[in-house]
């Protein structure tokens, strides 16, 4: 684990230094990232130019969901955004190269092509989140103040777990890498809207099966004082770190299983 983090830092650090050699290009793409990921929010603003509320949620409240979802996803994408390329590495055989090096493979996959330009998404989401905290009508308590950063970090961990699980999946189905987009990009998009927008079954699935709801929906419902569509006990608002830990453990297990099966099956 520690060895993995050390290797990850090393590889990511090298990519950052390499990326900084083209400063102009770096700034341009960072800005581009910011704008591109902001398009979703522009869409939400457009919607609210036509309506005052969506499924009963006001613009600042939706902005809170949006900000939380995008900052979490932005952090996860910064850390693990290279994992979707694993399938390509397996196809072209360069995955084997990672296996003959003395550091954990997952760290190499995650750190590969690390780029700070991905910060654009995080920054943009953070700005919206910051605005929503001021604009939304929230009864602040100490617990709620603490819950916000906890939510963002746990949410990021949940998304990292999804990325890792997606990487494990690609070992079996290299060509079907796009499937994970449904869970990563699809997940963060879905979480930008109030849970009450979606069908009950969908909300149940996202709460109990693939617990993306703990990225923001469940804690945000508590912070904003809005009812969650499903009856959940009160402590679940603070359960995100627990859920995140569980997700990461399961994803780690999936990755190990995937890697083991690669080594007994081959490319």
């Amino acid at each position: 684990m520690l060895e993995g983090l050390r290797a990850y830092r090393m590889i990511a650090g090298m990519w950052v230094r390499a990326g900084m050699t083209y400063r102009v290009s770096f700034v341009v793409t960072l800005f581009g990232n910011l704008v591109m990921t902001g398009m979703d929010f522009a869409g939400i603003l457009l919607m609210f130019s036509q309506v005052d509320s969506l499924a009963g949620w006001s613009l600042p409240e939706v902005a809170f969901l949006y900000g939380a979802s995008v900052t979490s996803f932005g952090l996860a994408h910064l850390a693990a955004g290279s994992m979707p390329h694993l399938g390509r590495r397996i196809r072209d055989g360069s995955f084997d190269v990672l296996l003959v090096r003395p550091v954990p493979v997952l760290a190499q996959v995650g750190g590969d092509q690390f780029s700070l330009r991905r910060l654009g998404r995080f920054v943009q989401g953070g700005a919206v989140l910051g605005w929503s905290l001021v604009a939304a009508d929230i009864d602040w308590t100490v617990a709620k103040v603490l819950l916000v950063p906890l939510m963002v970090v746990s949410g990021a961990a949940i998304f990292v777990a999804v990325f890792v699980a997606g990487a494990a999946f690609q070992i079996y189905a290299q060509d079907a890498a796009e499937v994970q987009n449904a869970f990563t990009y699809g997940g963060t998009t879905m979480l930008q809207y109030p849970p009450s927008v979606f069908g009950k079954d969908l909300v149940r699935g996202v709460t109990f099966v693939l617990p993306l709801a703990f990225v923001n929906w469940v804690p945000a419902a508590h912070v904003l004082g809005r009812p969650y569509p499903l009856a959940l006990p009160g402590w679940t608002a603070f359960a995100s770190p627990l859920v995140a830990a569980g997700c990461c453990a399961l994803a780690g297990l999936a990755w190990r299983t995937g890697l083991r099966s690669y080594r007994s099956v081959g490319s």
Partner: protein, 266 residues
């Protein structure tokens, strides 16, 4: 006549090439369906608040969503058609080889892209559309002529889509790195083609501008043609106008680029 057969063969090759990625196609179908599902719910909530938003009723809004998912890959609304390959060839200089081929560069790539689009429409587009039609109330016409005009609008949309992406790809002759323009293309593509929200629902003057841009010819116009929300003649004329302008601009830029290649010696 002989050259028509050549481009037909190029298109067929493009079709077959994309058809060979079966797992990727299945994955794309799944992802488009999931995104359609997410969008449908948000649109239903939105049209609950504003039942007549953009002149659509709820069923039309739902239809619009699934049409968007159906055409997303075929029209390469956020890029990802043959232009990536073209950019790569320009960047590596392999484009010089293409210029010596006894075929027109633009037509060659157009044919290849149309082949790709045809496959992605059938392979990736149809299933999400059917899923939407089965599980949600949609507003599809029963008249044959509406579908016929829709087919015409789709063909014109494919030309406009290629026209935009061809220009973007040729910019690499001057910029040498396609990252920035690709990003810009993605942003404009998704937003101004109406993947986020139907352009009809864009407010005020901003909406007027958005509906006049070439991206409007890709999803918004075919959707309106299908659902009878617009006069077909005017709509197709609008598309044809953009197709001609973009393809002509492509030719101009192409000849400038070719001169450049010749001067640089490849």
């Amino acid at each position: 006549m002989g050259s028509a057969r050549l481009y037909l063969a190029v298109a067929a090759r493009g079709f077959r090439r994309y058809a060979s990625y079966r797992a990727a196609t299945a994955a794309g179908v799944f992802t488009n369906t999931v995104f359609g599902l997410i969008l449908v719910y948000t649109y239903l909530a939105l049209w609950d608040e504003r039942p007549d938003l953009g002149g659509y009723d709820q069923a039309q809004a739902v239809t619009y969503v699934w049409l968007g998912q159906c055409l997303f890959a075929a029209l390469a609304l956020q890029g990802g058609g043959v232009e990536f390959e073209l950019m790569e060839r320009i960047r590596t200089g392999e484009i010089a080889v293409d210029l010596y081929r006894p075929a027109d560069l633009q037509l060659w790539w157009l044919a290849s892209d149309l082949g790709r689009a045809a496959f992605q429409l059938l392979g990736r587009g149809v299933v999400p559309f059917l899923v939407g039609g089965v599980f949600f109330p949609t507003a599809l016409p029963s008249r044959f002529d509406a579908w016929a005009w829709f087919a015409v609008a789709l063909a014109l949309a494919a030309l406009v889509s290629f026209g935009i992406r061809y220009l973007v790809a040729l910019s690499v002759f001057w910029l040498l790195d396609g990252t920035g323009v690709n990003q810009a293309m993605m942003i404009c593509g998704v937003f101004f083609s109406g993947m986020v929200l139907p352009l009809n629902a864009f407010p005020g003057g901003f909406g007027d501008v958005a509906r006049a841009l070439p991206w409007a010819a890709q999803l918004q116009v075919p959707a309106d043609v299908l659902m009878g929300e617009t006069g077909v003649a005017g709509a197709c004329a609008f598309q044809a106008m953009w197709a001609v302008v973009l393809l002509a601009a492509g030719r101009l830029v192409q000849s400038a680029a070719t001169r450049r290649v010749v001067v640089q010696g490849g």
